[in-house]
Amino acid sequence: MISPPARPPAAPVPPPPGRASQVRQKYLTAALLVLPFVALYLLFLIYPTLRVLQLSFTNADLSGNGAYVGVQNYTRLFGEPTFWTALLNTLLFILLTAVPNTLIGLGLALLILRLNRLKNLVLAAFFLPYVLPVSVVTNVWNWVLDSNFGLFNFLTGSTVTWFQDPVWALPSVAFVTIWWTVGFNILLFIAGLRNISPEIYEAAALDGAAGWRLFWSITWPNLWPVTSLILLLQLIAQFKIFDQIYLLTQGGPFDKTLVLLLYAYREGFQQQHGGYSSTIGVVLMAVILLVSAIQFRLLNRGERS
């Protein structure tokens, strides 16, 4: 041990504070440290989350004034064909993005990990779109997929108006979404693949496993915690889809790309139906909380093991 540096003669020590005042001091410090964040958190996240539930039982406008109307909004919502269209489109969009985005992410991660010198460069190429603002992404693809002057239609000879076509609009937005976000999945998969101990592979190789056999018997089962995490993150993210749809198709043509959040936006911010829009929000919240609860359990299990 190094002896402490010589100190100046001790200043008169204040009388030791009482235990009660020490405890008070501790609580005061804790409150001061916690308060700025917790106040904002309660005001801007927790309070609106509870208020949306209350608003869904009113006919409020965007100023928040309205009368209690019971479950009227809910009966209207479940009897409204547009709601079912939006729900169906949302599920279709999840189908077109969540699973493909996960599988493409895994495939690209496997391809990238076998590279040597080019590894970082190739990873950067796939990840780069992920750091772009959504409006940049949609501007770029509006140009590349332009029906008259776009590069894609020039190269393929196609004349499809990708984002205005009733059949192609939703798959086109899904494709743009995958292009934009797959880099995130690649990162998680690379981390997951690196965490699989090399000894398992060596043991399997000694037993004569190779190629696809090795992938299915070692990689896939060992990677499953990461794969399921990515699938659930995708599920939640795509359920809340709004930005790309709003910017590329506005929900058209003929509501073919109308999704839940866009429906809520239309009803709430364009029609001033605050109460009814809140009802859509509650449905959105309920589904996401359900999926999140599953994810939380999976994550906790992963941490324990």
Binding site: L33, P36, L43, L45, P48, L121, F127, L128, P133, N139
Partner: protein, 296 residues
Amino acid sequence: MTSSPPLAPAVAATRPPLTLRRRLSRLPGAVVTFLTVLLAGAWVFPLYWAFITSLKPENDTVALPPKLWPETIDFSAYTYIFQNSPVVRWYLNSVVSSLVITVLVLLLSMLCAYALSQINFRGRRWLYWLILAGFMIPFQASLIPLFILVNKLGLVNDVMGLILPQLAAPVAVVIYKQFFDQIPSELGDAARIDGASEARVLFSIFLPLNWSITFSLAIVTFIAAWNNFLWPFIVMNDTAKLTIPVGITQVQSAYGVAYAKTMATAVTAAVPTIFAYLIFQRRVTEGVMATAGLKG
């Protein structure tokens, strides 16, 4: 690197020249590598194409066949948007709000996480659970009450209305708490016995030990704040007050079909995040992993 290639170059070099058969056995691997690189090129090609388009005179953008590189570099699209749209103003709005959000998110999260991790007060477990619950809550579902609240506070169209709701995210608190929990308690106790205040313990012991994660969090928070679309789009209505990702969507509709100008605004809006990523690639990776709940 943990994995070594099947044929280490050093080993191959000491061996006699490869037979034709061995060369052929390497071929599939080389083909896969080539295709991977080709795909990576295709992946970034739209960005290259947007950039090149922004450097063409407007008439050349729709010329057939398309020119894959500009014959002359022409900045007229850029000078046009800088002179005829509030791009500079939007840029300033984005820079200021993103920087303020980044600094405040880190500071408030750090303070809160420090108390949760180091001060043993009653109800801290309960408080931590409340904050963890925020992970599951989608703010998008309660956009209406959030807007009503911000409107009642008189903050619609106000930079405070833009910033404050973005500070309510629990991610950084949870990450900081996990990192602070790993610091041996003796370190803090020793300083406290010497009379250091909690603020001093945090800023002269805990923060310096966590510069790395702080830096990574700062970069991903900045990128996320810069890119944020939905809330800025809802809360800001005056053209002069928009952030750049929202602003450029207005330019596009104002120009009609003017691809060089549209691409010039897109490139301008993307420059900060692209550079942040290219310069701090490792940090961005670390930050993204941390926020996804996996430590890289």
